[in-house]
């Protein structure tokens, strides 16, 4: 039996299809979850995909956070359910306070779509064990509100606890503090990042590599091993 990984569709989610594809490519079973449905249908892990939930109106992720399914995700995450938030999903996680900090408009005020180099800083999370510490990966980045912000104390705490999971390499694409591209919660089950690993699972599409596949193979191994 393989792992069942849920992908939530909020109104305005865009990369849910891609997340399902990535899960399939990794060898797990994707399960579609609907924002209005509190029931998580016994999935083993959840992906909050990229997109513009509720048009990103008000603030990115702010409205989605209050959807019925998020009540279950928040409760589950507190009990160790693995959750990965990609881009808009990361924004939903910070708005839900499952991850600290907040996401602001890119400092150059434009949407940015490009190939992004990242360094994997923490391979102890549920979603990163297939990488090696310090590994450099290239995956697509595409967002309008990707500038990670938190107060100094929080930033210091994240650094001290090794919870900065990914850092931008090369020029910082959005003004994110301390080049933070993604973080994890203390337990390592909840991970959020702005770039898109699900767009980097086959050589033909995305920026033409498979560097993102490790997220999905990591979680699969962990779930099947359990």
């Amino acid at each position: 039996m393989t792992a069942r990984i849920g992908v939530i569709t909020f109104p305005g989610s865009l990369d849910d299809q891609d997340s399902r594809r990535a899960i399939r490519v990794a060898g797990a079973e994707p399960v579609s979850l609907w924002h209005r449905d509190r029931d998580l249908h016994q999935v083993d892990a959840v992906v909050l995909p990229g997109g513009f939930s509720y048009g990103d109106y008000l603030r990115a992720g702010a409205i989605a956070r209050f959807s019925p399914v998020m009540e279950s995700v928040i409760a589950g995450a507190r009990e160790g359910l693995p959750v990965l938030g990609i881009c808009n999903g990361f924004q939903v996680l910070t708005e839900s306070h499952l991850l600290p900090g907040a996401m602001l408009r890119n400092n150059h005020l434009h949407f940015v779509c490009r190939e992004q180099r990242l360094r994997v800083e923490n391979t102890g999370t549920a979603w990163t064990s297939d990488y090696t510490e310090g590994q450099e990966i290239r995956i697509p980045l595409k967002n309008m509100d990707g500038r990670y912000t938190a107060d100094e104390r929080t930033l210091d705490m994240l650094e001290a606890e090794g919870r900065v999971a990914f850092r931008y390499l090369g020029s910082n694409p959005n003004g994110s503090l301390r080049d933070i591209a993604g973080i994890t919660n203390g337990a390592g089950n909840v991970v959020g990042l702005m770039p898109h690993p699900e767009h980097a699972v086959e050589p033909l599409t995305g920026t033409g590599g498979t560097d993102g596949l490790g997220f999905f193979t990591s979680i699969l191994k962990r779930l099947v091993a359990v």
């Binding site: 109104p11 305005g12 865009l14 990369d15 299809q17 891609d18 594809r21 990229g50 997109g51 513009f52 509720y54 048009g55 990103d56 109106y57 434009h110 949407f111 940015v112 779509c113 490009r114 697509p140 595409k142 309008m144 898109h196 699900e198 767009h199 033909l204 599409t205 995305g206 920026t207």
Partner: protein, 749 residues
């Protein structure tokens, strides 16, 4: 104010009506009265005036557009032709593809962000209405001079609007154009193209049939925005001395449109609609009259049922409102409940507003009283048609006689080098990454090629790897010199771009951007361009499946360059076999395909170095284009080339530099014996491409070219860290990259 009912209209024939203010001509108003046998009601007048506007009725262009049908080549691929929301093309394996390009020029000048955003929204709904899932967008754009202050207002707004809307919809942007020319200063051209895919059996048409079927309006509520926008905005010369006439612009809601797409696709999936139409220009007037006109019966609408955002709207305003993100469906009564359920699931408002009736009239009621009773065809399809006077401009001969051959040329390698750097740094030839990096090209995970490749390519079947490619091109400078040839060159370039990526060109869409049809010189340009495009489509075997006309693009008496923009759709059986433009492998051989003549009229060189426009555009040889395309497609299929890039504005050197920069590899090139270095580098002869051939494939490739009679000259090798033209100059890639990439950010930052 008393309601102007049909009964009242019949009994008060003398009532003065504001037909002139609504843009109708005296004889057009008379015709309405004849059709109805009485004066129109206010609501009827509103409908006729918007539907008979230039934008909706194509009254000046129709007589010329007919050629696209009359001269259409035999093509097995055409499933739905011109006249529907968009044409549909068979791409094999049971898939059909629909695509179309449209303009949103005038609104984008007034409110760049929203104008461009709603342009994307409108074309996406057109594609959706055919039954297709939209899979990609493209955006051919034209602005005034790059260094003009107003360009800094218009361009960033337009780009942000296209990105803001398209990104939020989740449609990858896979290509387009960014062109600067002072002629577009007060009239930027914002064209938007959408591609959609469906199974053959899922094609939907805009027609209302089946007496008793319900008419459902769904999507956003109807508000007071954009009322009359269609007739006033798209049909009147823009005159900024009268700000009071500035009409309202619509605001788009891409989130609502995303829901509309998903909701509509689910409705299609359950086969719940008998007919469907998007609401675009002319709003409900257009949707109801077109649906009824194309169907078999009549239609009765209760206008009170239309959900409003502003309860004070009059019935005329409701009929004319261009509120965005709305669709109109014809649904069998026993499917209505399920239809509404799906709408509810997606948070999309939906209301039954009427039904298909026996008979043949479109009847609209307001508070129980009849305010419209018209034959729908007379509104939708039998508008006025003009045979506008046309005359070859008296300046055309002098313009063509002003040959660039007399312009001073670079005389040595040092001057050539300097001019190459100026060329690749010029706004039109420079990298457009500043623009395209604001567009999501990865979403949906099927984008195989996107900007800056020659065409965008999207996989449509993940198991078989079937894919489609689309490119758009246009060159107003060529078309100004000779509109017939200019239109053909636009098609030829787009066709070549599709073939360069390995896809077989199948079909065409076009957006014809011109000045005022009331100017005989403009009308001549328009007629010539249509004739040129139709003739070329016939020769290339690629039918025009649909498109759009945008007239009145002029400031005062000065029209824009005639600018036909042509989109070509191609198909590729296996996207793994696509050809990229990058020179990526050291040691591969660079071949120049086609013939180079001295052709500099309208060229980038004449513009950048001499600010000159004159002479004749490059000659078109469509048979050669076809042969070149066949070779490029065969070479891609059989793995004979690793890279291909078409030659167009900027000539060989521009293409060479782009392929080198893309791959991060240099090239060493030798000027062929029979060519002058300057002509070799800068001429814009059509029907050419460069390819990178692995040494192991050289014999096979040259044999194929030889056997088919396509000139193929080995001009160099992929090598080193610079672009070197032997005996002339050597420019490091870093220097070229800086020149090519710094310009646009420098102008807009």
């Amino acid at each position: 104010m008393t309601l102007d009912t049909v009964g009242r209209a019949a009994s008060t024939p003398q009532t003065e009506q504001p037909w002139a203010e609504l843009g109708l001509k005296p004889d057009e108003y008379q015709r309405v009265r004849e059709i109805l046998g009485r004066r129109p009601t206010g609501a009827e007048l509103a409908m006729y005036s918007v539907m008979w506007s230039e934008h909706c009725s194509y009254k000046s262009s129709k007589v010329h557009l007919r050629q696209f049908g009359e001269k259409a080549p035999e093509s097995d691929a055409m499933l739905v032709g011109i006249g529907e929301n968009a044409g549909v093309v068979d791409v094999g394996q049971g898939y059909a593809v629909t695509f179309k390009v449209e303009s949103h020029n005038h609104p984008s000048y007034i409110e760049p962000y929203q104008g461009a955003a709603t342009g994307v929204g409108g074309i996406v709904r057109d594609i959706l209405a055919m039954g297709a899932r939209p899979i990609a967008v493209m955006d051919p754009l034209r602005f005034g001079a790059a260094d003009h202050p107003d360009t800094r207002r218009v361009l960033p707004g337009v780009v942000a609007g296209i990105g803001g809307y398209g990104n939020c919809l989740g449609l990858p942007n896979i290509g387009g154009e960014v062109v600067f020319d002072p002629c577009y200063q007060g009239n930027p051209l914002v064209n938007a193209l959408c591609v959609g895919v469906m199974r053959h059996e899922d094609i939907h048409l805009a027609k209302a049939s089946g007496v008793g079927n319900k008419v459902i309006l769904y999507g956003a509520r109807t508000g007071g925005d954009g009322i009359g926008g269609v007739s006033v905005l798209a049909s009147e010369t823009f005159d900024d001395t009268k700000p009071a006439k500035r009409p309202a612009v619509q605001v788009g809601d891409p989130f609502q449109e995303k829901l509309l797409i998903e909701c509509t696709l689910e409705i299609f999936g359950e086969k719940l609609v008998a007919g469907i139409q998007d609401l675009g220009g002319a709003g409900l007037s257009c949707a109801t009259s077109e649906l009824a006109s194309a169907g078999s019966g009549g239609m009765r609408i209760e206008l009170d049922a239309v959900p409003l955002r502003d309860s004070s709207l009059s019935p005329e305003e409701i009929l004319m409102s261009e509120s965005q993100e709305r669709m109109c469906a014809i649904v069998e009564p026993d499917k209505v409940d399920r239809f509404l359920e799906i709408c509810e699931k997606w948070d999309v408002g939906a209301t039954v507003i009427g039904e298909v009736t026996e008979g043949s009239r479109l009847e609209i009621f307001w508070h129980g009283e009849q305010i419209v009773d018209v034959p729908p065809r007379s509104v939708a399809h039998e508008g006025p048609t003009y045979q506008r006077p046309l005359a070859r401009p008296e300046w055309q001969d002098a313009l063509q006689a002003d040959d660039p051959g007399r312009l001073p040329r670079p005389t040595d390698g040092r001057e050539l080098r300097e001019q190459v750097l100026r060329l690749v740094a010029s706004p039109n030839q420079a990298s457009k990454a500043w623009v395209t990096d604001q567009y999501d090209r990865f979403v949906q995970g099927n984008t195989v090629l996107a900007q800056p490749e020659d065409s965008g390519m999207v996989r449509i079947d993940e198991d078989t790897n079937l894919g489609v490619a689309v490119a758009t091109d246009g060159n107003g400078r060529y078309a100004k010199l000779d509109p017939y040839t200019g239109a053909q060159l636009a098609l030829a370039e787009s066709y070549r771009n599709v073939a360069a990526t390995g896809a077989k060109p199948l079909a065409v869409t076009d957006c014809l951007n011109f000045g005022s049809p009331e100017d005989p010189a403009v009308m001549w340009q328009f007629a010539e361009a249509c004739r040129g495009l139709a003739d070329a489509c016939l020769t290339l075997g690629t039918p025009v499946t649909g498109g759009n006309v945008s007239l009145y693009n002029q400031t005062g008496d000065t029209a824009i360059h005639p600018t036909p923009v042509v989109g070509v759709l191609g198909v590729i059986d296996d996207v793994n076999r696509r050809t990229q433009m990058a020179f990526a492998e050291e040691g591969q051989l660079i071949y120049l395909l086609g013939e180079t003549r001295e052709e500099l009229g309208g060229s980038a060189w004449s513009q950048v170095i001499h600010d000159h426009l004159g002479g004749r555009p490059p000659a078109v040889d469509l048979e050669r284009e076809r042969l070149l395309a066949e070779i490029l497609v065969a070479a891609s299929r059989d793995g004979m080339v690793d890279a291909a890039h078409d030659l167009s504005d900027g000539g060989l050197v521009q293409a060479l530099v782009e392929s080198c920069l893309r791959g991060g590899r240099g090239a060493r090139v030798v000027v062929p014996d029979d060519l002058d270095p300057f002509v070799f580098l800068f001429s814009e002869s059509a029907g050419r491409a460069i390819v990178a051939v692995p040494r192991s494939e050289e014999v096979r490739f040259t044999d194929m070219c030889g056997a088919r009679g396509l000139p193929a000259a080995r001009i160099g090798v992929v090598d080193g860290e610079s672009v070197e033209v032997q005996g002339q100059f050597d420019i490091p890639l870093a220097e070229l990259r800086e020149a090519h990439e710094a310009t646009i950010p420098g102008l807009l930052a």
